[in-house]
């Protein structure tokens, strides 16, 4: 793994998180509840009549994270099997060692959230459409919120070239929404899907900010029905550069671009892809992303409640700016 900035990676994940490219070398046994808190910095100027002018200072939020560990194994005979090369430390030693290695809040580290998945390219096994919803069978788990570029369909040719948000995802299929006159009850034998993060068109200097979609919301006209969704994105601070794949109009772009450092090119916060010439739209990127973090507190309680078992009721850390 190669990060765009050389910092240690937090050895943890959240409950229910499954393994995969995004999950590195976790300490086992995190438990519920976990907390994830976005922070903004706005100053409110309120007049005596109640009217208010708000001055915004941040373009991107900062996140607070809080994890809990119900039990942490400290048994040399029961070490985590996640490591391709065995290391001589127990889960407890890894977690407490990482905290002390960071000297509490003294040093910065990278944290990969559970939705930091790269997507991928897939050959679908079948496609079925009823109404405007298209179920595309892929034998992989993808995240809702990623986008899919569709190609290779022979019957539903109008799906080819579409870049659509993934509405639902299971381990065996994804669902996308697309309105077409021939929408109802169409089955397709197979096609291809590229799933990843949809990027903007390049600016006049052939720069494209590497963004991360954190969510979205429907546009609700007053008294109307939702007609379009507004994705909400944030700047990407760190990525695993080895995981980055860029697709221009469905074709893998192997060269002709560089990753510019975070916060170096206006007006983009975070990393930027700089192309030598404008790529064809739509542009999609597959990558793992990380937040740059520090532990929030300079003291951390680990409780030894049974031989070989520890617990940590609250482990707090927070995102920091590059």
């Amino acid at each position: 793994m190669s990060l765009t900035t050389n910092v240690p990676v937090f050895p943890g994940f959240i409950p229910d998180q499954v393994g995969g490219a995004a999950v590195t070398y976790p300490v086992r046994s995190p438990t519920w509840n976990i907390k994830k808190t976005p922070k903004w910095n706005n100053v409110r100027h309120q007049a005596v009549n109640g009217r208010m002018l708000v001055v915004k200072y941040w373009a991107n939020p900062l996140w607070d994270f809080e994890l809990a560990y119900g039990y942490i194994k400290d048994n040399p005979a029961d070490q985590a099997a996640f490591y391709p090369t065995p290391i001589p430390y127990t889960d407890y030693q890894i977690l407490s060692g990482f905290y002390n290695g960071m000297q509490g809040g003294g040093n910065e580290f990278a944290f990969t959230p559970p939705d930091s998945v790269v997507g991928g390219t897939f050959t679908t096994s079948a496609v079925s459409g009823t109404s405007n919803y298209w179920t595309i069978y892929v034998n992989n788990t993808l995240s809702a919120g990623l986008y899919a570029i569709l190609s290779g369909f022979t019957t539903t040719t109008w799906l080819n070239g579409q870049i659509l948000p993934i509405i639902r995802a299971t381990p065996t299929y994804i669902v996308v929404y697309y309105v077409h006159a021939n929408q109802a009850l169409v089955n397709e034998a197979a096609g291809h899907v590229i799933a990843g993060q949809s990027l903007a068109t390049p600016d006049s200097n052939n720069n494209i900010p590497l963004i991360n979609t954190t969510g979205g919301y429907p546009t609700l006209p007053l008294g109307g029905t939702p007609t379009v969704t507004n994705p909400v994105t944030e700047a990407t601070q760190l990525i695993d550069a080895a995981s980055l794949s860029v697709y221009a109009n469905g074709t893998l772009v192997g060269s002709g671009y560089t990753i510019q450092p975070a916060d170096s090119i206006a007006p983009y916060g975070g990393l930027v892809l700089n192309f030598t010439s404008a790529p064809s739209s739509p542009v999609m990127a597959l990558f793992n992303y990380y937040y740059l973090c520090r532990f929030s507190e300079d003291s951390q309680e680990f409780e030894n409640f049974m031989t070989g078992l520890w617990m940590c009721s609250s482990l707090k850390f927070e995102q920091v700016r590059i």
């Binding site: 001055v55 941040w58 991107n60 068109t201 600016d203 200097n205 206006a266 739209s281």
Partner: protein, 507 residues
């Protein structure tokens, strides 16, 4: 009244006032600019360096801002364009990098009152700020380091004292700006007439738009002038049907005295707009970008999507339809709309703490108060005024090669016969030899003579022999300086004390 200039130098104070009144929230940030002579390398061009930082969480780029008493100017044209700056967003722009900088409260008072401002910079001591602007540089002769710490340079070596410093307030677009080359739309009747009370509007990457009363069709086209040299097309989805908008399409047809007379645009090779008909008033129109890029100048880049050519003039030229258009699309990326000069002064004092650098800025008013205007200076041997506007400078007194013997002591070759302490209190710089007129103070530029290192003593030496020179403060000497300049009272005469260039001579 403060004037707000857009990044291209246009006065947008009036439109900004309207925007501030209409919008309930605004995005703001501070911009910090200071200038200095490039002293850490042997700079034969005598460049000035523009340091540009912001407390915004994103970098900003601009071409023009107010530096002087009035008007906007392009800092890149100062010093006969011998300028070094952060050009990470393109060579035409100064990029302001996010840094951990805060400032004290700005306060103003009518009258001759000086109001200092404290700027605190939580500086990264491990970062090589100098190489980022000027490329890699060789190991300095003193201090013996390959990467000078900015904190050291400012607080220990006082190399930035007296340099001009500006604080600007940046204001950002509340809605997506209308760049040149952006996709515009308008609702018209069947004849192509924009319906009463409506104007062209920005579509950019799309959104939901409601058909106004009296309209039954949507027209789309690019914002530009002229159209004849455009290339490319966009595919847009309008209520789930794809339409192609060529880059030569204008958003409406203008015919003098006949059609859309409120929005005149000259003929410049534009094609008819793309028309989506069959609409009814009150209907929602969902527009989405599908694919394609366009260019403004034949087949040359940049190529861009319906947002337009980012950082190009906001409404294109004054001949383009964008001058009449409105934007209601919230920005996803804050874009700088304009800057206003909040403070202008010079670096008066710097002090370092473990994790921060404090910079005290003296106002211009302070110069007026602190500068004495002697009517007669009582000094033995002459009646010259103490401060002369253009000190004489000569590279004949001290020459290279030089040897650093301590942080404050250097052995030079004497360029002429020197008596003991003859150079006491003279100032030395390691700039290259420059024409005399370049040494003269230039409005708005940092003094050529900074950083200057003041001589405490020198040993007597015959011409060409070694003279040991001791300075009051530790000094910075680049690798292989081309010249050693000694500031004297008058060029060509024996050097003496009162050749001190006043620090405020650049302001």
């Amino acid at each position: 009244m403060r004037v707000i200039y857009d990044p291209a130098g246009n006065d947008i104070s009036t439109t900004m006032q309207t925007s501030l009144q209409n919008n309930r929230s605004v995005f703001m940030a501070n911009l910090y600019t200071f200038m200095h002579r490039q002293f850490w390398k042997n700079d034969t061009a005598g460049n000035i360096v523009i340091w540009s930082f912001t407390d915004a969480d994103i970098p900003l780029a601009l071409q023009q801002l107010q530096l002087f008493a009035s008007g906007a100017s392009n800092p890149l044209t100062l010093n006969n364009s011998h300028v070094v700056y952060n050009q990470s967003s393109g060579s035409s722009y100064i990029t302001y990098s996010p840094e951990k900088i805060t400032r004290g409260k700005l306060s103003y008072e009518v009258g001759l009152v000086a109001k200092d401002v404290e700027v605190t910079w939580y500086i990264d001591d491990t970062q090589d700020y100098f190489a980022a602007l000027s490329g890699s540089y060789g190991t300095l002769q003193t201090p013996a380091t390959s990467a000078l710490s900015m904190k050291q340079a400012m607080a220990t070596y006082r190399a930035f004292d007296d340099c001009p410093f500006w604080i600007h307030r940046g204001v950002f677009f509340a809605t997506q700006p209308i760049w040149d080359g952006s996709l515009l739309g308008c609702f018209t009747d069947g004849t192509g007439q924009i319906v009463a009370g409506q104007t062209p509007f920005l579509i950019a990457n799309g959104g939901t738009f409601i058909v106004p009363a009296g309209a039954n069709q949507l027209q789309m086209g690019m914002n530009d002038y002229p159209y004849s040299d455009n290339s490319g097309a966009w595919v847009m989805s309008v209520n789930a049907s794809n339409v192609t908008v060529n880059s030569t399409c204008a958003p409406y047809v203008y015919t003098a005295g006949v059609l859309n007379t409120a929005f005149p645009i000259p003929s410049s090779g534009q094609a008819a707009p793309v028309v989506v008909s069959g609409l009814t008033a009150g209907q929602n129109v969902l527009i989405q970008y599908v694919s394609g890029t366009c260019g403004l100048h034949f087949s040359s880049p940049p190529f861009f999507g319906p947002i337009g050519a980012v950082n190009f003039a906001f409404s294109g030229s004054s001949s383009s339809p964008g001058q009449y258009a409105v934007s209601t699309i919230p920005t996803s990326t804050p874009v700088l709309e304009g800057t206003s000069l909040m403070y202008r002064g010079f670096i008066r004092k710097t002090s370092a703490a473990a994790d921060s650098l404090s910079i005290t800025l003296g106002s211009l008013m302070q110069i007026l108060q602190d500068t004495q205007f002697p009517t007669q200076l009582i000094m033995p041997g002459n009646r010259d005024v103490q401060f002369i506007p253009s000190p004489g400078v000569s590279s004949a007194y001290l020459t290279t090669p030089l040897t650093v013997t301590s942080p404050v002591s250097v052995t030079f070759k004497a360029g002429s016969t020197l008596t003991q302490n003859q150079l006491q209190d003279c100032w030395v710089t390691f700039q290259p030899s420059l024409p005399a007129n370049v040494w003269a103070p230039q409005s708005g530029l940092p003094p050529v003579s900074t950083p200057g290192w003041r001589i405490m003593s020198n040993t007597a030496a015959a011409s060409g022999a070694n003279t040991n020179v001791t300075f009051y403060d530790p000094l910075i000497i680049p690798a292989s300086p081309a010249a050693v300049n000694v500031f004297t009272q008058t060029s060509g005469s024996a050097p003496g004390f009162n050749a001190v260039p006043p620090p405020e001579n650049s302001l």
